[in-house]
Symmetry: C2
Subunit: 146 residues, 2 copies
DNA sequence: TTAGGTGCAAATTCTTTGCACCCTG
DNA sequence: CAGGGTGCAAAGAATTTGCACCTAA
């Protein structure tokens, strides 16, 4: 699946609502549209401001509730903090992370190869690279066992 | 630089304080020790609990202040949320991120090669891999220009 | 001695929740 | 019409800040 124009996304949204037999409210429609129309990974506040222009009565808590709902529906993904806190690490060597998607365990690992990945040329048009880090998502053995 | 035993880290801490002529307080010593002695990436609360056992009068806000100070000193690194909010993305395709270390801009990019990286065998001992994502840290052109 | 660090308590910021009313299917 | 969604206001959780006292160098 690749990047889609907004119309295709809106259509897919409609389809998913029908398929799963969930309510398609005005608010959900406008909130999804706000996320679907940008590549900027907006936060809840920015989405709220955007939706508000077309729907002045919308409330911030509905935006939050709807965003988590959209995530549960598999229509959007979430970046950055998700109920997790800032954490600290005294390991200063260049390393990568394995993150358990169930319990959140984060374990360091190192790899010469991953330290020097070749990046696609598209990167050249975004900015100057300083460092690359690989994040592996998976299930740790403790969680797999239980 | 590779992983170090705690004594080496404590020594380095002392050296850095002397070099930079900053005060080495009891609290800083114990808080750094708490981070240096584990590979678990503890959060502020957990560090606070640990330090508290040896120093019952320490306060949580000192823990926070000291952790940020340790980061400024280059003695620790920080994972997860750093004054940033949860963000949302309607792009469901497998993609990677370029993150500007100055302004926080996050841009998606895709790469067949990065989608299927070979991971080191050490991973086998941590858990079952689901997906890998590359995070490129750098400076975006807008920030580089100003 | 003194610049800067610390503890306390209160403030901020982001996000979530309880409840009565409203709307979609 | 019924069950779930919404707006409001208030609660919560994590982190930060102002201020008077204390301490390392």
């Amino acid at each position: 699946m690749s990047e889609q124009p907004i119309e295709a996304r809106m259509q897919r949204f409609k389809d998913v609502c029908r398929e799963k037999a969930v309510k398609l409210t005005h608010q959900r429609w406008e909130i999804y549209r706000e996320v679907a129309q940008t590549a900027e990974h907006p936060d809840a506040e920015r989405i709220f401001q955007g939706v508000r222009e077309r729907m002045p009565t919308v409330s911030l808590d509905t935006v939050y509730r709807t965003l988590w709902w959209l995530k549960d529906m598999g229509l959007i993904t979430v970046l950055g903090p998700t109920r997790e806190r800032t954490r600290f690490d005294a390991n200063l060597s260049h390393h990568h992370h394995f993150v358990c998607s169930l319990c959140g365990l984060t374990r360091d690992f190192s790899s010469e190869v991953l330290d020097h990945l070749e990046l696609p040329d598209t990167i050249q048009s975004i900015g100057q690279v300083q460092q690359t880090q690989v994040e592996v998502k998976g299930v740790c053995f403790d969680c797999a066992a239980s």
